[in-house]
Amino acid sequence: MEALRSRTWIAILGLVMAIAFVMPNFVDVSRLSWWPSAKLNYGLDIQGGLHLVMGVDVAGVVATSVVRQTASLKSEFEKEKITIKDFDTTKAKDGQFTVNVSSIEDAKKIETYIQNSYSTTLQVLAANADSVELKYFDANMLEQKQNVIRQAIETIRNRIDEFGVAEPSITQQGADRILIQLPGMADAEKAKQLINTTAKLDFMVVSYEKSPEELRKLIDEAEKAGGYTLATLKYSEYVARLNQDLASKLPAKTIIYFEKNENAKTMEAGSVAYLLKTDTDLTGDYLDTASVAFGQYGEPEVSMRFNPIGANKFAELTGTHINEQMAVVLDKVVKTAPKINSKIPNGQAVITLGTSSNRDTQLNEAKFIATALRAGSLPASLEQLEERRVGPSLGRDALDKAKTASFIGSILIIIFMIIYYKNMGLISTLGLLINITSIFALLGSLGATLTLPGIAGMALTVGFAVDANVLINERIKEELEKGASLKSAIQEGYHKAMSAIIDSNITVSSTALILLYFGTGPVRGFAVTLLVGIATTLFANVFVSKVIVDNLVHRFGVQKLSV
């Protein structure tokens, strides 16, 4: 009796939790902060949207970076008075290149120079009389490759922000792929086009001809006159419109761009306006590379290196604008605007970060700025590998149809169970309803995504779940026919059916696990519902149904249950 009581409480607890987790899908529980609020996610095949897999040309970026490295080395060797013939960059895709020389002395000098100045990035593979073979260290190559993916993701994210898609998901897939999922995307062609345009990086000097207050006032007036805000337009359209409207009121050769406020999720939520001079003409094309570095006291900073032409332009720009701010602008968005302390003659610059924040925040900021700089200087070319696009109407139709079909199937099964197994069929049906509730609850609380094949999996689970009850009920029938009492027939029926129930669930769950591992998108949804269905079947159709039967027989003294 004690065991039955605790089993009853476990069943009730499970049921209450299932109902609690299912609730948010049907009623608004947002007022109760302690109530679980996770709702069931629908996959792109149901809610409609765009699913893109883009290949990133990582090797191409590595090759470009090698070629730039050789250009920079060339001038460094000249300064060191090392004579070389030329560079061989045929193996650039592997991060490897050769310096052709005419004497072993030059080769030795190169070896020493590389070991001193590039101790962490370049390794000397061989130094011969006619050539020196150089290669990036493996760790460095790995980091470069990861950076390429990271900056490509960052660039795409910026583009997607334009659309104001509710929950875009942009993730790395495998070594060199990016998976983009945009729910409810209406204009897929436009989105694809935007994703495919390369990032544009500009260095622009900040103009002080208008104070921040004056600027804010001008913007507010223009917004009011034109009847638009950042919330109603896409960012690029908004900026274009605003600058057009304010053209007569702004100083000549200036433009307004915005910075996304720290902690702000979107541009609309918090944007800082900058008035920028348009006549600097220093773009990402002149930047060789940028990376996170660490200063004298280990504080994170961003180091960047311009190519020889860029170095001259940068020297001139920094020389004439000392104590002014220089904004780093990626795709018309201000990423940072550091102050120029002094003229920077050699094209090697460091952006230090404010000391007000803690080290982690600084490190994140340094990574963020370096990524933005690289996105503009070393844009990775993208290749679309897979596209799946579902219009919202189709997904809704399919969902409705699949729901109806599942409903019809389930009702037929329930009717059959009740007619064929009478009382026990009724209990099985109760188990089935608890089962379905639990499936929804588990899927919701696990944050799983419901796809169309997932719904198929759920409907099949209903058909399959009653298998457990059929096994049990048939056993009970047999035991009763042998002349056993109701109590012992039930005990034996559940007991003897168990091994078959476990067996069948192991086979189905092992195939589902394999599908989960190898499948993608909707198929994973199918596998997840099958797996969840197996767990809930064991709970509802086996455990809970036994608790109900035991309570009826032992606690309420029911003498007869028709099977």
Binding site: K401, I408, I455, L471, Y517
Partner: protein
Amino acid sequence: MSNKNVDSESFGRFDFVKNTGLFGGISVVLVLISLIYLSIRGINYGIDFKGGTEIQVKFNQPVTIEQVRNTVEGLRLGEVGVQSFGEGSEFIIRFIGEKGATDKETNEKLNASISLVKEKLSSSFADNGVDIRRVDTVGPQVGAELKRNGFLAVFYCLLVILIYVSIRFDYKFGPGAVACLFHDTVITLAIFVLVGKEVNVPILAAILSLIGFSLNDTIVVFDRIRETEHLHKNRGYAFIINRAINDMLSRTLITSGTVFVSALSLYLFAGGVVSDIAFAIAVGIFFGTYSSIYVAAPLILVMEKLNLSPRATIRST
């Protein structure tokens, strides 16, 4: 289906073992026909595995399939197929696209062709209300990868099941279970190709989970055979098998029936990919039930006859 009048010494209502030769023969013939058919026709792979584009378009005003076909032909899309879908003027346009010199070029051509088709449809049927409801494009690299993953999934699935069967049952049972799976999968696949459906990733998933369902049926029968064996140690295998199958008959039919009903209503009412998954499962369940009665169990008898040693014991779990 009640066993009320059956005493413990009778094997039950039907003599399944007697007809082993007949039904075994039918099964062998069916599998052979399926294999030959599959090898001649080939599996009709969809764009998931083959690469290519599928565009589902709906017109608000009636449009005939010939009109659509004439419109998209001549767009240099390679092999184009147009198929009507559901009720009303809804169509699926499939094309593999022109092959480029490299995968990259093929991809680019494929991507360009989508907007080409979209524009052509919009301009040709401007008055018919064009609604592009779905676009699926799979490039050659992803197609090859999906194929590889699909192959691996099938391989591991079979491996896991073989391991499971060999741990759970001894040599007598293993071949029957595996033959059953082979039988069900091959026949289902052949019927799938016969009705002209394409095999895409979700269908592969359906067939793999079918393997799970079908094995489950077989295992329940085996489990019962094992139990019956302990109760009737002095009886021959023919009796034990007949007895076990008869005892489990209503369970086997009811369970298969309920899954079949679920699948059938999905097939009839859900449409699209769900319908295709359900079709594969419904067909598979049908043959799975048949095979666990007429293929799996009698094979135990065959294994028993091949084995000259005294009756083998069955490992406990």
